[in-house]
Every structure is written in structure tokens, then in C-alpha cells.
């Protein structure tokens, strides 16, 4: 009886000590990767839904936008983030050592520059005062910077920071003579085109490069785990090509009301990093200096 009592006291003491401390993020020892529900990241979501990441002890935290992913990543000190090169550059500027380990896709017409003035007229006049609507600290800025550089256009660009969610709801006056540039992506771009805006440039042009990557913090995944993860994602991409319907059924919970047809048509706006395109895409990444560290990408 005394033995049992002493055991109980010891147990209670240990419980009271250990109960006070916990590492909230490493509590379950999982590798946490944050990804938005962007179509380009669906191979990872597919693998997650199918339970293929369990062996690697990887959990995916799914957000509604790149910006949200970045917020969550910084707030919770996660291990990996699915993003474009813009967010990756930002993270590395803040003294964080991130390694791009997987390329998912390249935006292929999904990101666009629109204007209320037709392209020929816009380039001919090169007005001195232009209103630019974009979301700051987002991929929009990549397009705009390339645009200015390529067109050698030094005007008084008045930047108006507008959330992409608001951009398609906003009542732009398309018929005013003041030139406007609207930098956006699908599905907002289609809605604006219906309102009379003209397509000026898009990521179909090899100069306007936007890639989607998975980057992880150095040391969060071992080399063989990275290769395993690459294999899982590559398999998911293959599955999408072979059986898109089944792929869609697995990931559709992340898309709200998006139908299968809409899902298929949205695939036209990106090019997945598959076996056929690997060489070409790596060349582009190197040529246009999209990334500095590509040792893992080359192995994908």
C-alpha cells in the first residue's frame, strides 16, 4: 500500500513538472509544410489526402492564399512552405536559410498584366503617368518589375495596393483615358477581361517567369527524405496526367465549388514540372536566375 502511495506521489510530481512545458510546434514531432490551395500545389495535397506523407511524418497545413501561407509560416515557424520565388526571396532576405527542394509548376498564362488601353496603343504612347493596381509583396510585383525593365518604360507609376480578392469585385472604369495596368491572376483576370480590359502580357512569355516551389528549412528533412518527397510529388503529377478525374475527386474538397471542367481548364494556365519539361524548365530557372540553389531541383 505504501509502495503504491509513493508511486502515486512520484507520478503526480512528474506529471506536474512535465505538464508545464511543451514545444507547441514540435509537440508531435511532425514536419509541417504550409501550402495554399492553388492548383499548382495540388500534387502535394493529393499525396496528403492519400496518406502518402504519413511515412515521412509530414503534415500539410492548407491555406487560402500565398499571403496566408507566408503569415502562417512565419507565425508558427513551420518547416516548409509552398510558394513562388517571390516569397522565397523574401524569406532568404530575412536571414532564413531555405532550400528549394521541389518544383511543382510554372505559371503559364495564369498571371497576367491587363490594361484599359489596347497593347499596341499602350506601347506606342508610353504615357508619363500610369496607375498600377497590384497586391504588394506578392507575385504581382515580379511581373511588374519585369514589365518595366523589358519595356524600358520610365513613367510616373502610381502604385495602388489592392488585395487580389478585391480586384475582380472592384468597379474599375475601363473607358477612362488614364492608362491603368492591373496585375492579377485567374480567376480574377477572366472577370476583368469580360469587363473590357485588354491582355498586355502574361506568364506564357518566357520573360515573365513565375515558378511554384516547395522550400524547406535546412536540416528539417534529411536528404533521402527530400528525395522520397520528390518521388511522391512526381507520382502525384503523373497520376494527374493519367487519371485526372480520380485526382480531382481526391483534392476537390480544397476548391469549394470548383467543378471538374473548371479544374481541367485551369490546368491550361500552368505547366507541371514533369519528365518531359524538366530539362527545359531547369534551363529557364538557370538562364533567368530564378533561383540560386538548385542542387535538389536538378535531382527531382
Amino acid at each position: 500500500m505504501i509502495k503504491k502511495f509513493l508511486l502515486l506521489v512520484v507520478f503526480l510530481s512528474i506529471f506536474s513538472i512535465t505538464g508545464c512545458s511543451s514545444d507547441k510546434n514540435k509537440r508531435d514531432g511532425k514536419i509541417k509544410i504550409v501550402a495554399s490551395n492553388w492548383i499548382g500545389f495540388t500534387p502535394l495535397l493529393y499525396a496528403y489526402e492519400k496518406g502518402k506523407l504519413e511515412a515521412l511524418n509530414v503534415e500539410v497545413i492548407v491555406t487560402n492564399s500565398l499571403q496566408s501561407s507566408l503569415i502562417m509560416y512565419e507565425k508558427n515557424n513551420y518547416d516548409g512552405i509552398c510558394s513562388t520565388q517571390k516569397e522565397l526571396t523574401y524569406l532568404n532576405q530575412n536571414n532564413k536559410d531555405h532550400l528549394p527542394v521541389i518544383v511543382f509548376d510554372r505559371s503559364y498564362g495564369g498571371d497576367v498584366i491587363l490594361s484599359n488601353i489596347p497593347k499596341e496603343e499602350l506601347y506606342k504612347n508610353k504615357c508619363k503617368k500610369v496607375d498600377v493596381f497590384l497586391e504588394k509583396n506578392s507575385v504581382n510585383e515580379i511581373l511588374f518589375e519585369v514589365f518595366k525593365k523589358l519595356k524600358n518604360w520610365s513613367a510616373d507609376f502610381s502604385i495602388i495596393d489592392i488585395n487580389q480578392y478585391n480586384i475582380s469585385r472592384f468597379e474599375f472604369e475601363s473607358n477612362t483615358k488614364v492608362p491603368k495596368l492591373i496585375i492579377t491572376y485567374e480567376p480574377h483576370a477572366s472577370k476583368l477581361k469580360q469587363k473590357g480590359f485588354y491582355l498586355i502580357e502574361s506568364t506564357k512569355n518566357d520573360k515573365f517567369l513565375v515558378f511554384d516551389f516547395l522550400s524547406v528549412k535546412k536540416g528539417s528533412l534529411k536528404k533521402d527524405e527530400i528525395y522520397e518527397l520528390q518521388k511522391i510529388v512526381n507520382d502525384s503529377i503523373l497520376k494527374l496526367k493519367q487519371d485526372p478525374k480520380s485526382f480531382y475527386e481526391t483534392v476537390k474538397i480544397y476548391f469549394g465549388d470548383t467543378s471538374y471542367d473548371e479544374f481541367i481548364s485551369s490546368l491550361d494556365q500552368i505547366q507541371f514540372f514533369d519528365r518531359d519539361r524538366k530539362g527545359y524548365m531547369i534551363d529557364l530557372i538557370q538562364k533567368e536566375k530564378v533561383l540560386k540553389k538548385i542542387e535538389y531541383i536538378k535531382e527531382q
Binding site: T63, M72, I160, D161, G256
Partner: protein
């Protein structure tokens, strides 16, 4: 009685009615605790299942379960009539197309739960920039739009989402309230608390597919019965209240009680050893002290609260009653959230009307423009704006708006102070228009205009000035007036400027300048401008006028020589005759001393007369420029000495009436020139007029009052034609042949009288009688002001 029996039977039938012996398919979810879940034997359990089973048993329903994994699937089966009943489901309008619901069995609120550490989150409005967790396939997916929160995290299941909230991985969780409340109680999650503001209230009920509505009556009655007898409440409490099945053997329980008892004893002993247990007196004292302390703290807290309330009210009153127009605007939607009394008065809307409005209903700019400006204000890039604002009565006012972002309890708002500047703007525009008008006049004036400082440096000049001087504007702005003046005139120039500064202005300065190697003559006036710091120069190029004046003078001199010839003829004759008589009498040797004296005197007298005539002529030609105090009578007399003989030779009778005399400040030579001009015109008109009447010239002076004198010159030349009489003082206007007149004569007369002698000159035709004869002629009236007496 028979009828009553039949009636009772009819009403009682449903009570005895039992559903047909059909096997109903009942759809349930495999995991939607506590409504539906599967126990370890894969048998459906949960609140909805237990309630349904109770109800089915009471009404004798045969059924079997169809288990699905999602609401979407359950919905599809109901829609396709592959199942008949669902025990519990949200009542939604779109579902009523294929499902008929019983009366609600329960309701639940969809609620937001937050991590306790986030004290700044108080209402739904505060969560915009926070991360909100939602569970896939849950109603919250569509409820949390980006208007509510921008960062949305999609969790695979409720438990993962709950854990994320508890660990503050996400800030907020959106989920049905009863389920989260149950989890909080059961798992003792102290980090989670509800926001207390339901996002949506969902009624839940039992549903049957269309075609099976006959079951509803029975089910509704049974639900009522269960609610009435407390059975329903028991089931509800079982699943949603605190419910723990504690199963513990007695030995374990005894052990825990014993252990706790020992711990308490050990602690008491330890405290006693440390003298932490106080005597009753000490305790009372301690309690008293603590009570006083608490009362003091409470009092301070109350005072602080009162002070806070007072300050709050003070600022609220300041806002509400301030004389400036003030608005509070929600920056994203543009909704007006508060206004003060000045705003109500200015715009004409009531407070309630305002609170239903957006700023775009007042601001006349297009929505995009307002958005851009609002964004700038929000980010503190720009805070002052000018907008056209529409009042309720339709009037558009120009307003100056100072807008700043202000943090409030409800988040960031835009605080705008508005000033009506419509009138100010109108005046500004008027001033701008006037300025443009004056600039146009300034630039297009034919006279040269320049503004100089008191050191005579050029500050501005117009085009005519530039053309006149031959310098560019830039060159002029680096120069002084003196640089443009010939050296000999500089002192005179300085004197004129000094005079202008002292007296306010100087007129009719004639100056010679050299422009591009060409001599020009300008007439200049200088005025001291009201700021007393600058001078206005107005110059007129009178070079061509001067040349014509000189030509006119030469013509006058030609005429003068004619006059002299006439004037000298008679005295020369007298001299000649006197000399001849002297010679003749000498030759005849009958000359007496008396004769010599007489003829010599005559010759001397005539020679003096000739000498005087020459002096008058020379004075006229020399043109003494001095302006002195002169007698009008003297001027007329001298003029007549020059032209008298000519008049005589043309048989013109001169009638003078010069009784009145006055002194004026003037120049004899100029005035004589003017009078000669008038007299010559009169002479010419009388020569031309061949009507046979006598040629009469009347010259008279008459005091009009103590200060003015009128000089009147009337001829009998027939008068001036009515069509031209109003134009005779215009430069270059002449009725004479080119060889006779230059057209400068009378215009120069007018200039001499009006500008240089401050007099007036008018002309009209006059008809009069003289020596019983009727005459008509031109009458020149010249009026001078008296300036003094010699």
C-alpha cells in the same frame, strides 16, 4: 350523439395509425460527433441517432441504416431518393425541394472561438488580419469570406483544427458552437473561449424525402411528446451537457483520497513550521488590512473608470458638438459610421440616414478615384483632399477634407474633418480669371509697361516694352532703368523717379533713348504702386508723332515767314518812304532839322517794331520749354503780333475782347503754336468760303468764375461739317489737301491744351449776327484753370 362519436373516431385515427410495414432507409454519418458516429461495433450512435431510435420505437417504424462519410453524400442520397429519412440535418431552403422537415429538434449557432491570449479580438470585425481555421466540408468554409478574414486555414478534421486553436497555431476557429463547447468542457481546454457573436444560426430537424410526408404528422406529435415529458431534454443533456463516465475501482479511489490527505497534512505541517498559520487576532487584523486595501483599490478603480468615462464623454461631446464638420468612415466599405451635428446641418441628412450611407453617395468622384484617395489616406501618404460633395438638396459643394486613420475599439477608421471651401474656391477662380485677364491686357497693351523696384531694377515688363526697348525679357530683368537712359538724361530720370516716389506719380516725361542704334522719343509716366515698393513705368513711342510735330512746326514756320513778310511790308514801306523823303529834301536843300528829327524817329520806331517782331518769331521758333506763370492776354497779344498782318492782308477783320485776364502755369511758345493753328484754320476756312460776307475773327477772354477763364475764337467761315466735327482732334485727320495740311495741327492743339496745360478744348458751330448781318462759323472754346497771378 352518433355524429360526435364519428368525429372523435376521425380525430383519434392518427393516434392509432402506424406506418405501413415498410423498411425505411435511414442515412447517418459515420463521424459527426456528437450527432453521429460509429461505436467500436460500427453501430451508429450519437444524439441524432438516439433521438431517432426513441422516436422510431415509439411510432413503430421499421428501418435500417445507410452509413455515409459526408454531408454531401447524405444530401445526394436524399435527393436521389435512395434513402427515406435522415434523423438530423440543417434546415436549408434549397433542401426543401426534395426533403420535408419536421419541426426543429434543435438549433445550433455557428460561432467563432479564439485563443484566450488574443485579448485584442472582441468582435468579428477584429479578426480580419488574424488566421481563421475552418474544417473541410463544414459550413464555415463558405461563411468565412475574405471580407471577414484574409487568412483561412483548411483543416482536414475538427480535432486537428481544435488542437491548432488550443496551441495558438491559428488565432480563431469557426465551428458549430455546441460541438466546440462540448469539447472545451470534456477536454478542459482553458485556452479557448467563444467570441460571443454567432455567425449563423442553423435550425436542425428530422427530414423525410418527398413522398413520405405522411410520416411527418406522427413524428411531429412524437417530438412534441418527448419534449413534453422531459425525455428529449434528457437525451440532449446527455450529448451536449457535462457527461463523464467515471469508472474507477474502490482501491484506486481510496488510494487517491489517502494520497491527497497525506499531501494536505504535509503541506499544513510545513506551513505551520514556517509560521504561516496566523492567530485569530492576527488573521482578523490581516483581513481588515486586506479589506481596506481592496476597498482602496476598488475606489481607485472606480475613480479611474469614472475618469475614463468622463474623458470618453468629453471627446465624444467634442466630436458631436464641434463646429467643424466631422465624419468617421469605415475604410474598406466606405460606410459612414458616425457624424457630428455640424455634418447633419451641412449635408442635410438625418443621423439615421447617414448611418445607412457610404461615402461614395456624398463624394461625386467615381468609385475608383475614391478608393485610390481612401487608400492614400489609410496609409498616411496623403491627408488633405479637395472633393465635390453633394448635399441632400442636390447642391454640390467643394470641400477641403483632412482625413487620417485612427485606431478605435472597433478597428481602424478614417476620421475626416471637412471644410466648405465653395466660396473660397469661387473667389480663387475669379482671382485667377482676373489675373489672366490682367496678364492678357499687360501683355497685349500697345504701350510699354514695366514694373521696377525702388532701385529702378526691372522686375517685370510686357511685350510692348520689350519691343520698344529692343532687349529680351531676360536681359531687361538683369538691368536697371538707368542702363536704358542716355547718360545726359540720367539725372533727370532720377529726379523723375524721386518725384514719383514722393508724389505718387509723374506724367508726360519725354525721353530720348537709343535702341539698337536708333534714336527714339518716348512719352513716359511713372506711378508708385500701392505696395510702395515698386514703380510702374508706362512708355509710349512718340518718335513718329514727334517727327510729324516737327514737320507741322516747319509748316508753321513757313506760314510764319509769310506772316513776317506781311508784317514787315508796312514798316519797311514807312522806313523806305521816310528815307526817300530825307534824300529828296536834302537834294532840294530844303530839309530842316525838324524834318530830320521827324523822319529819323519814324525810322527808329519802325526798326524797333521790326526788331520786336523778330524777337517774337525767334522765341516761337526756339520754343522755350519752360512752364511758367503766364498771362493769357499776353500770349494772345504776342500771337496776334505774329499773325495780325496775315489776317489783314486777307481782309480779315479781327475783333478782340480781352478785358479779362488770368495767369496760368504754361508755356508761351506752345500756347502760341496752338492759337496760331486755330487762327490759321479759321483764316483758311474764311478764304475758302466765298459767300461774300465779311471775314470776321472774334477773340475774347471771359472769366467763368474765380478759378477758370474761357478763351473763345469764333470765325465766319461757315462752320465745320456736322459729319466731321467730332473727329477734328484725331491725329492725322484733315479736310485739307495733302499739300496744305498734315492732319496733325488740331490734334496737337488738343494735346497742348489738355495734356500740357490741364485745360479743355471743345468746338461747335455758332450762328450769330454782326452789324445786322447773319454769320456762321466755327467756335473754339478753351477753358484754363487759374494757377496764380504775376
Amino acid at each position: 350523439m352518433k355524429k360526435l362519436f364519428i368525429l372523435i373516431l376521425l380525430f383519434s385515427l392518427p393516434l392509432f395509425a402506424k406506418p405501413a410495414n415498410k423498411l425505411y432507409k435511414v442515412v447517418v454519418l459515420e463521424d459527426w460527433k456528437p450527432y453521429y458516429f460509429l461505436d467500436e461495433n460500427k453501430k451508429p450512435k450519437g444524439y441524432a441517432v438516439e433521438l431517432f431510435e426513441k422516436l422510431a420505437s415509439n411510432i413503430g417504424l421499421n428501418y435500417e441504416y445507410v452509413i455515409v462519410d459526408s454531408w454531401k453524400e447524405a444530401d445526394r442520397l436524399m435527393k436521389e431518393k435512395k434513402v427515406d429519412i435522415i434523423p438530423n440535418m440543417g434546415v436549408a431552403l434549397k433542401r426543401t425541394e426534395y426533403i420535408t422537415f419536421t419541426q426543429p429538434t434543435d438549433v445550433f449557432e455557428v460561432e467563432l472561438f479564439k485563443h484566450k491570449s488574443l485579448t485584442e479580438i472582441r468582435t468579428v470585425k477584429d479578426i480580419k488580419k488574424h488566421s481563421v481555421g475552418v474544417v473541410l466540408k463544414n459550413v464555415c468554409i463558405s461563411l468565412i469570406t475574405e471580407d471577414i478574414a484574409q487568412t483561412k486555414i483548411l483543416f482536414q478534421n475538427y480535432h486537428r483544427a481544435l488542437a491548432a486553436l488550443n496551441d495558438n497555431e491559428v488565432d480563431i476557429l469557426c465551428y458549430p458552437k455546441p460541438l466546440v463547447n462540448l469539447s472545451i468542457k470534456e477536454l478542459n481546454l482553458e485556452n479557448i473561449e467563444p467570441l460571443g457573436e454567432p455567425l449563423k444560426v442553423i435550425k436542425r430537424a428530422l427530414g423525410v424525402v418527398k413522398g413520405e410526408e405522411h410520416l411527418l404528422d406522427l413524428m411531429d406529435k412524437e417530438i412534441l411528446r418527448l419534449k413534453g415529458n422531459g425525455e428529449y431534454q434528457r437525451i440532449y443533456n446527455k450529448w451536449f451537457g457535462i457527461h463523464k463516465d467515471i469508472e474507477m475501482d474502490f482501491e484506486q479511489l481510496s488510494l487517491i483520497i489517502l494520497a491527497l490527505g497525506v499531501i494536505v497534512l504535509l503541506i499544513a505541517y510545513y506551513i505551520r513550521q514556517k509560521k504561516w498559520i496566523l492567530t485569530k487576532k492576527e488573521l482578523e487584523q490581516k483581513v481588515k488590512e486586506q479589506t481596506l486595501k481592496i476597498e482602496k483599490n476598488l475606489s481607485e478603480l472606480k475613480n479611474t473608470t469614472l475618469l475614463y468615462e468622463k474623458e470618453k464623454n468629453k471627446f465624444k461631446n467634442m466630436f458631436k458638438t464641434h463646429g467643424s464638420i466631422m465624419l468617421l468612415i469605415e475604410p474598406v466599405s466606405g460606410r459612414i459610421i458616425d457624424v457630428n451635428e455640424s455634418a447633419l446641418k451641412f449635408y442635410g441628412y438625418s443621423n439615421d440616414e447617414f448611418l445607412q450611407m457610404k461615402i461614395s453617395q456624398i463624394n461625386m468622384l467615381d468609385a475608383e478615384e475614391i478608393f485610390k484617395k481612401t487608400s492614400r489616406a489609410k496609409e498616411n501618404i496623403q491627408n488633405r483632399f479637395e472633393f465635390p460633395h453633394r448635399l441632400k438638396n442636390g447642391l454640390i459643394k467643394t470641400v477641403e477634407v483632412y482625413t487620417s486613420p485612427v485606431e478605435t475599439e472597433d478597428g481602424m477608421v478614417l476620421f475626416s474633418i471637412i471644410k466648405d471651401i465653395t466660396e473660397q474656391k469661387r473667389l480663387q477662380n475669379r482671382i485667377i480669371e482676373q489675373k489672366e485677364e490682367f496678364e492678357t491686357i499687360f501683355n497685349y497693351a500697345k504701350d510699354g509697361i514695366a514694373v521696377v523696384d525702388l532701385q529702378t531694377n526691372f522686375l517685370n515688363c510686357n511685350r510692348a516694352f520689350i519691343e520698344l526697348t529692343g532687349y529680351s525679357k531676360e536681359e531687361l530683368l538683369g538691368k536697371s532703368c538707368n542702363d536704358l537712359t542716355i547718360i545726359s538724361d540720367r539725372e533727370e530720370n532720377q529726379n523723375a523717379i524721386r518725384k514719383a516716389i514722393e508724389k505718387g506719380h509723374v506724367d508726360n516725361l519725354e525721353k530720348s533713348c537709343i535702341v539698337n542704334g536708333r534714336h527714339i522719343t518716348v512719352n513716359m509716366s511713372i506711378s508708385l504702386l500701392p505696395d510702395k515698393k515698386t514703380l510702374l513705368f508706362i512708355i509710349k513711342d512718340i518718335t513718329s508723332l514727334k517727327i510729324i510735330q516737327e514737320q507741322a512746326k516747319l509748316i508753321s514756320m513757313g506760314e510764319m515767314i509769310g506772316n513776317i513778310a506781311h508784317q514787315w511790308r508796312q514798316p519797311l514801306n514807312v522806313i523806305s518812304m521816310s528815307a526817300s523823303s530825307l534824300i529828296l529834301k536834302t537834294l532840294k536843300k530844303n530839309i530842316s532839322e525838324e524834318d530830320i528829327q521827324k523822319f529819323s524817329n519814324t525810322i527808329v520806331k519802325q526798326t524797333n517794331y521790326l526788331s520786336n517782331t523778330i524777337d517774337n518769331f525767334r522765341n516761337f521758333i526756339k520754343g522755350d520749354r519752360r512752364y511758367l506763370n503766364i498771362s493769357i492776354k499776353e500770349v494772345i497779344r504776342e500771337t496776334l503780333s505774329l499773325v495780325g498782318a496775315t489776317l489783314e492782308s486777307n481782309y480779315i477783320v479781327l475783333i478782340t475782347d480781352l478785358d479779362d485776364d488770368m495767369f496760368i502755369t504754361g508755356n508761351k511758345s506752345e500756347l502760341s503754336q496752338a492759337l496760331i493753328n486755330i487762327i490759321n484754320n479759321a483764316k483758311d476756312s474764311m478764304i475758302d468760303n466765298e459767300e461774300g460776307n465779311e471775314k470776321l475773327l472774334f477773340i475774347s477772354t471771359k472769366k467763368l468764375d474765380d478759378n477758370t477763364i474761357e478763351l473763345k475764337i469764333v470765325d465766319s467761315g461757315g462752320g465745320i461739317e456736322s459729319g466731321i466735327i467730332d473727329r477734328i482732334f484725331e491725329p492725322y485727320f484733315t479736310t485739307k489737301h495733302q499739300s496744305v495740311g498734315t492732319g496733325i495741327g488740331l490734334s496737337m492743339v488738343e494735346q497742348i491744351i489738355r495734356e500740357r496745360h490741364k485745360g479743355t478744348i471743345t468746338v461747335h458751330n455758332e450762328e450769330y449776327r454782326y452789324n445786322n448781318k447773319h454769320y456762321k462759323g466755327a467756335c473754339f472754346n478753351i477753358v484754363f484753370k487759374i494757377t496764380g497771378q504775376e
